[in-house]
Amino acid sequence: MEHVELFFKSIFIDNMVFATFLGMCSYLAVSKKVSTAVGLGAAVIFVLAITVPLNWLLDQYLLQPGALSWLGPEYAEYDLSFLSFIMFIATIATMVQLVEIVVEKFSPSLYNSLGIFLPLIAVNCAILGGSLFMQSREIASLGLAATYGIGSGIGWFLAILAIAAIREKIRYSNVPGPLRGLGITFIITGLMAIGFMSFGGMLTGGDEAVEEEQKTVEVVTEVDEDKKLADVSEIEKEADNTTKVVE
């Protein structure tokens, strides 16, 4: 269930393009034709699906404060989190380079049409964003990280597919000359993003809040018996003394 929820959440609610505006450059530049868009979208899904779990492992066993404790208790103090950017980026760049080599070998036409944007997948903020979100949202397991990676990738894929389809049709429309191409794409994307904002409402279920409040009340009644709290009055007294001194 957790997986399903995260999966759909990362596709629609947290859509990489429309909700967080990541991966815009290649999204705008390589969306002229549906076929190229599909190729790039597939590459992004692939790269995200691999790099997010991989970076999850790196984060868990290498970078987090205390992550090195599996090496022995004396390593528990190390905090390598300042390296996380560079490690994530290195993983991503390696994967992208791999994809580049594979695509060049098996589909030279796709390789040519992707042009500069294939290497740019590496700096496609969607990819690094995926890993950084994974880190900051503290995704709990390797499986969930993979689900998140694939979900975000599919979200990006859907977005570029949608805009490519629209752009193919819009050729037949009478768009003012200067707006043709890039300009109108920007504006359409803006409108689509406004549309996607409505998915955000799916996140906030009202039911949870009520439950929380009831729990709080319980806690209050339970703790009253706690005798240790007698200390509190002493601290208060101390407090008064200190202020006197200060005065």
């Binding site: 505006f21 815009m24 560079i86 992208v96 380079q97 580049e100 590496a122 950084l132 109108i184 920007f186």
Partner: protein, 214 residues
């Protein structure tokens, strides 16, 4: 420009308009959308990119002949990432307040495709001096758009510029607000940045018909 030859000054001037990284080359869009709700953030980001792109372009250009082509992407990224992290660490140690303002941008700078795009398209094939100029020029071109977008979004969205109220006080109903003017909170949302950039492209291409796509 006595110092620069005609060819060199073209490197700086071209990206300002006719070969603008955002509106023509479609690079660095993410950051242009993310941080332009406020003019100040746009300016800070522009300056950071100016620095990283200028220095990074020179470094890449210096080592361009020894980079193995198979792993050039990794090398480029590591150069940017290391550069940014070093600056971040040094600032944290010596100018902590400044680093707090800038730390937000660290991730955005590393993933800014302008930087990679210029490494790939220019610095790998040109000498350090020309690469430096190219870096500066593109950073300026990028900054110009960022600042224009930031200007309009902050002015129309919150009625302020660089944090100073320009149009009066929306709560006390002074200045423009006395006549029933309201801030357009919509301008602060990222989709509006897309639309503002779209409009900038419209204006730019109506001025320069050569840029119109078919």
């Amino acid at each position: 420009m006595g110092l620069l030859s005609k060819k060199d000054s073209k490197l700086i001037l071209d990206p300002l308009a006719d070969n603008n990284p955002i509106t023509i080359q479609v690079l660095g869009i993410c950051s242009a959308l993310a941080i332009t709700a406020e003019l100040e953030a746009s300016i800070v980001m522009s300056i950071s990119v100016l620095f990283v792109l200028g220095v990074g372009n020179v470094i890449i250009s210096l080592i361009r002949n020894i980079i193995p082509s198979k792993i050039r992407i990794i090398v480029q990224l590591i150069v940017v990432a290391a550069l940014v992290i070093i600056v971040d660490l040094v600032l944290k140690a010596f100018a902590y307040e400044l680093s707090k303002t800038l730390s937000v941008f660290v991730g955005l700078i590393i993933t800014n495709c302008i930087i990679m795009g210029r490494f790939e398209a220019f610095a790998l094939g040109n000498g350090p001096w020309r690469s430096f100029l190219d870096g500066i020029g593109n950073a300026f071109g990028y900054g110009v758009i960022l600042i224009i977008v930031g200007f309009f979004r902050e002015l129309l969205g919150s009625g302020t510029l660089l944090g100073f109220p320009i149009l009066g006080d929306p709560i006390e109903k002074t200045g423009l607000y006395a006549f029933g003017y309201e801030n357009n909170g919509f301008m602060l949302l990222s989709p509006m940045a897309l639309i503002v950039v779209g409009l900038i492209i419209w204006v730019q291409r109506s001025k320069n018909k050569a840029l119109i796509e078919d």
